[in-house]
Symmetry: C2
Subunit: 319 residues, 2 copies
């Protein structure tokens, strides 16, 4: 009788840390969320990570074959070294992998969260069985992970996959990263909200006003999505436009890498079919002939628990 | 005593086919050029390729360990199938590798010419010892080959490396490929000549006029280069601008792939230091922090004979 094997998945975020015990089939057996307490600096955050792991390990301890951690920032994977994560003040370089592995004496794998999401889709989700795909995570930023020949492509230092910082207009808006006209400056949550705030005045008929109860400070991608789903023309045009901007960047990636499958996840992916069609149509419009027919834009399968599942997938991916 | 081993390199172009016998050290022992006679269709062109190979094989035949062919178009490498090469009318899909291998009973390797150039630099040139680099070939088009983990990255069908068809302005000029604002529409030879033709009227002091003998039809990147080298301010600004456009596209690639070494070859690379500095500065301006310090733009080492050497390198790369 084969023994059940589990992985612990840790989704390290700026405000909360989600931890779960996950089976090889991608079933979450137990999960918990603890506060990150990011302002406390690395020691406090690591203490919180351990607290979360302790809380889920419990009776599963002997069956846990590894711990996977999805972290913001650049991660030098072999050493599990987390470098300059945004939203975690005081972290310069922290050997998170080594620290956790030493504490629990369980193999530990750390990856950047966008890369973990790609491995999550590869092992448990829409990327199962695909040799090559680009996994795009839409949120405050626009991250991506590249699966090439069935493996996570990390680049020279683990920083690969910055789809958000591909330029689609070299004279475009300034991005926080220092570059100009990055995809992120068109479709990142904050930029999108800012753009819509500026345009709303010209669309007095938009249902967005109702949903906002006239409090513009509440504007979010979720509100735009709800308005679009209720048939609001302006909100729908924002969703289509967002898909087009993403499509401009992705067409470049598809032309460069000759990879035809794209999986989209993260909050804005909730924009649904309208968004997906817009992305796919734009890519097809703009890629080379031999690619047009092959290009396919797929929704991520892992939804709310993508963070925990992606992190735990790092364990099953390695073993 | 180790026997000397040679490869035959075939550089298949739209007007001429260059064929050479090359040693493992990258020395061309013998070379020849025959007309492509492209208008005759595949059979005539293949006849010409064989004519070229026959002319160089001669006394080397027993020491030749393989034949490498650099071809335009997309090449499905495992089968040596050449698909839709531009400038070779009547070619849809031609199993060039199989045909040549059968005729000579010598292992034959066919690759797209931009990929062959990358392998050429990897085996004989500026990419020797590098694990990862992007090889850019500037000419009528803008091609590139990607070396990742010491290997040629081909993509799903062998079409990878289309740096020329990365968009740097989604509202930019229409490209022949169907896309908009591609790098190629800013720096490809024809586009560059067209742009300069349009602007020259505003630069009556430019030395380009002298060099052209007032015959605008003679305008070429070479003339612009000569004018820049003689100190012409306008021509210099064109070179710097060309570097900036290339830099915009390359910054996206560097951010996406976390690859920091870029090798530039092809005719326009003759623009020299002014061009290279402009490319490198632009990339550094626009890439993420951790990459800025590592980015390096290098001139290709293989010059006039890059085509033959790249094709022959395909043989030594495989064995």
């Amino acid at each position: 009788m084969s023994k059940l094997k589990f992985a612990v998945g840790v989704d390290l975020g700026g405000t909360s840390i989600k931890v779960g015990v996950v089976s090889k089939e991608g079933k979450i057996e137990k999960k918990i969320s603890v506060d990150t307490l990011a302002d406390g600096g690395p020691d406090i955050v690591i203490h919180q990570i351990k607290k979360g792991i302790d809380l889920v390990l419990d009776k599963y301890e002997k069956q846990v074959v590894g711990i996977g951690i999805g972290s913001p920032g650049v991660v030098a994977a072999k050493k599990g070294m987390v470098e300059h994560p945004p939203n975690l003040p005081g972290w310069e370089k922290v050997p998170l992998g080594k620290i956790i592995e030493k504490a629990y004496k369980i193999d530990t794998f750390v990856e950047n969260d966008a890369n973990a999401a790609a491995v999550g889709e590869l092992i448990f989700g829409a990327g199962k069985g695909l040799e090559n795909f680009i996994m795009v995570t839409l949120g405050t930023g626009v991250g991506s992970g590249l699966i090439i020949n069935g493996k996570l492509y990390r680049g020279e230092t683990g920083a690969a996959g910055e789809l958000g910082h591909i330029t689609i207009d070299y004279k475009g808006p300034q991005c926080n990263c220092g570059n100009i006209g990055c995809v992120e400056t068109y479709v990142g949550n904050n930029y999108m909200v800012e753009r819509v705030s500026g345009e709303l005045g010209s669309h007095p008929e938009s249902k967005i006003f109702e949903l906002l109860d006239n409090n513009l400070g509440q504007l979010s991608p979720k509100i735009i999505c709800d308005a679009a789903n209720s048939g609001d023309q302006y909100a729908k045009s924002v969703v289509v436009e967002t898909g087009r901007y993403l499509g401009y960047g992705l067409a470049s990636v598809v032309n460069l890498l000759d990879i035809s499958k794209i999986i989209i996840g993260g909050g804005v992916a909730g924009f649904g079919k309208l968004l997906f069609d817009s992305i796919q149509d734009t890519i097809k419009e703009r890629t080379l002939k031999s690619l047009k027919e092959r290009v396919e834009v797929l929704p991520a399968k892992l939804k709310n628990e993508a963070g925990i599942l992606g992190a735990s997938a790092l364990v099953f991916y390695q073993s």
